[in-house]
């Protein structure tokens, strides 16, 4: 029981980071960003490469410092990539929704091949920045995962506050409710959408910085994270921020429960079946507001 509680929370924290940005971008602009998983991939690899580069410099041996620099480099790159992707690829194709889907798919494919070409197709390992293990309720797990949970809770709270309180957050909500009316009252909708894509990239970048250390990274991992973000968003409701946070934790506990009760290989199918049932019974998701016309 304790295992389900702890590992479910960890899984939920990861899913919340992944799904929040995905849901935000869909809710604001109706943009289905298939490169979301690729953002995770590229951040993880930039962090890995920067660590590799910095540790070859003789003076730098303090690992947390090296990791910190690498994390800053990775996060700023992914936010830049997000902005460039929006301006260069999504904005011109916004009129046709299938265009955005296609171009972001091509983008994800591009990043996968880029990582393979610049690095190599093998799997790599990033040393966790928080060393050792933690024992909680009689369960021992890597301390890095505790950092993930704390980081996720702080970030999700900050982003939620940002969207509900700040001026930019208010314009984000205005655009998601009615883009034309928002434009009429003088909100720069392109700017708002770019900001939401950047926030989304930042969140998924943080997911990579917090979760990739201690795990193996390979060029193909992007698709798996994309699928997770997808499923949570559908479950919680497309474009609903509280929905995707709630959905992330429910899904986290559900997958952990299946891991323990049935078998880990089966737990990959269960989220998909949940999505399918959800789509058929309540297509707008748990807390989704947008009605289907």
């Amino acid at each position: 029981m304790e295992e389900i509680l702890i590992f479910g929370t960890i899984q939920g924290a990861l899913l919340a980071l992944l799904a929040l940005g995905f849901s935000l971008v869909y809710g604001v602009g109706g943009l289905l960003n298939l490169a979301h998983g690729a953002f995770f991939l590229i951040t993880a690899y930039i962090v890995y490469w920067t660590i590799h580069l910095l540790t070859s410099i003789p003076g730098l041996s303090y690992y947390p410092l090296v990791f910190g620099i690498a994390a800053v480099v990775g996060l700023s790159s992914v936010v830049t990539i997000g902005a460039v992707t929006y301006l260069g690829l999504m904005k011109p194709l916004q009129k046709s929704h299938i265009g955005v889907v296609l171009v972001t798919f091509a983008m994800a494919f591009f990043f996968e091949q880029f990582v393979k070409f610049v690095g190599d197709p093998k799997t790599h390992y990033i040393v966790p920045v928080v060393p050792g293990t933690v024992t909680l309720l009689g369960i021992t797990f890597p301390a890095q995962l505790l950092a993930l949970v704390f980081g996720s809770v702080i970030l999700v709270t900050l982003v939620t506050l940002f969207i509900s309180k700040s001026t930019i957050g208010k314009s984000i909500r205005a655009v998601s409710q009615d883009p034309e009316a928002a434009e009429l009252v003088g909100i720069n909708t392109d700017m708002v959408m770019m900001t939401s894509v950047m926030i989304s990239a930042l969140l998924v970048g943080f997911a990579a910085v917090l979760y990739a250390p201690g795990n193996y990274i390979a060029p193909r991992i992007g698709w798996g994270y994309l699928l997770l973000a997808f499923s949570v968003t559908i479950f919680g409701g497309m474009g609903s921020i509280p929905g995707s946070i709630l959905g992330a934790y429910v899904m986290g506990y559900a997958t952990t429960l299946t891991d323990y009760l049935i078998s880990p290989s089966f737990s990959q199918i269960v989220p998909l079946i949940v999505i399918l049932v959800m789509l058929l019974v309540r297509p707008q998701g748990l807390l989704g507001k947008k009605r289907l016309q």
Binding site: L89, I98, F105, F117, I234
Partner: protein, 326 residues
Amino acid sequence: MMKLQFDWRSRLSRFRVWALSFRGGITLLCLVGLLLVPLTGREYLARIVITAMILTIFAASWDLLAGFAGQVSFGHAAFFGISGYVTAAFVKFVGAPWFLAIFIGTGWAVVFSLLIGIPCLRLKGPYLALGTLAFALILYNLFLTGTWLGGTEGISALPNIGSVFVEFYIMAAFMVASLIIMRAIVDSRLGTILKAIRDDEVGADAAGINTTVYKLVAFMVSGLFAGISGALFVLDITAVNPAVYQPLYSFYAIIMASIGGIATIYGSIVGSFLFTLLSEFLRPLAAASLLIFATLLILIIRFSEEGVMNPFLEHVRDLWDKIRGR
């Protein structure tokens, strides 16, 4: 007797007019060029073109559903894969001849398209896309984790249809027939109804069209042709494994159809030939090939929203008119 003769002659003259027109001329030229490929005697080239022809049917089947009926599916690999699996199983375990196995496999694909279509038609837009994607992924995982039909390894070592060149003409016949039938469907009354549903579903409903039935018909027709291409694909590579269900195949269909131009059917030919030949010609560049390919893909999608076929044909037509002095 006389009447039959007359009819035949008028058909022939209509054919001649069509063949001399711009579109007809291009089509015939391409068809003759295609049929001449095996005469070069290059087995490698023939193999690539066979793959391109099979993928053409697959992309066109997606185009029929998405371009004409407006139902964007991300799970077309489900139809492709189920038909391939059933075909392989019948050839391998029952010993059925390949042409019979194609029909059985395609039949299963149609049944599956109905099974997927009925629940998914309650969904619209991105929800429909994700629903179909989820179906394909469930099938993928079921076949990957299950032990039936060969489990993870799948079914391999199927008998060959014939020599490469015999296979080439069989595939070419299937492709031409499928494309003509699909084009005839979209030009028929059914096609008009599907376009009406795509453009304004409420309006179509109000005009007395039973939209649910027609959307299901579109799903089944699309599943039928995706099934044919899946069966041919498996017979061509003589093996099948759970990878045929992966989302990548669904996206290949989408990409090929949109490179050529959505809602054209014929655009799929341009798209899939461009796609297959390009990835094959870039192969000598090893690691860089897929990177260049991905970059080209982004550029094509970004800068040609109507696909590459129609704008290109427009330019050629202008040139043609100038040559003829109009």
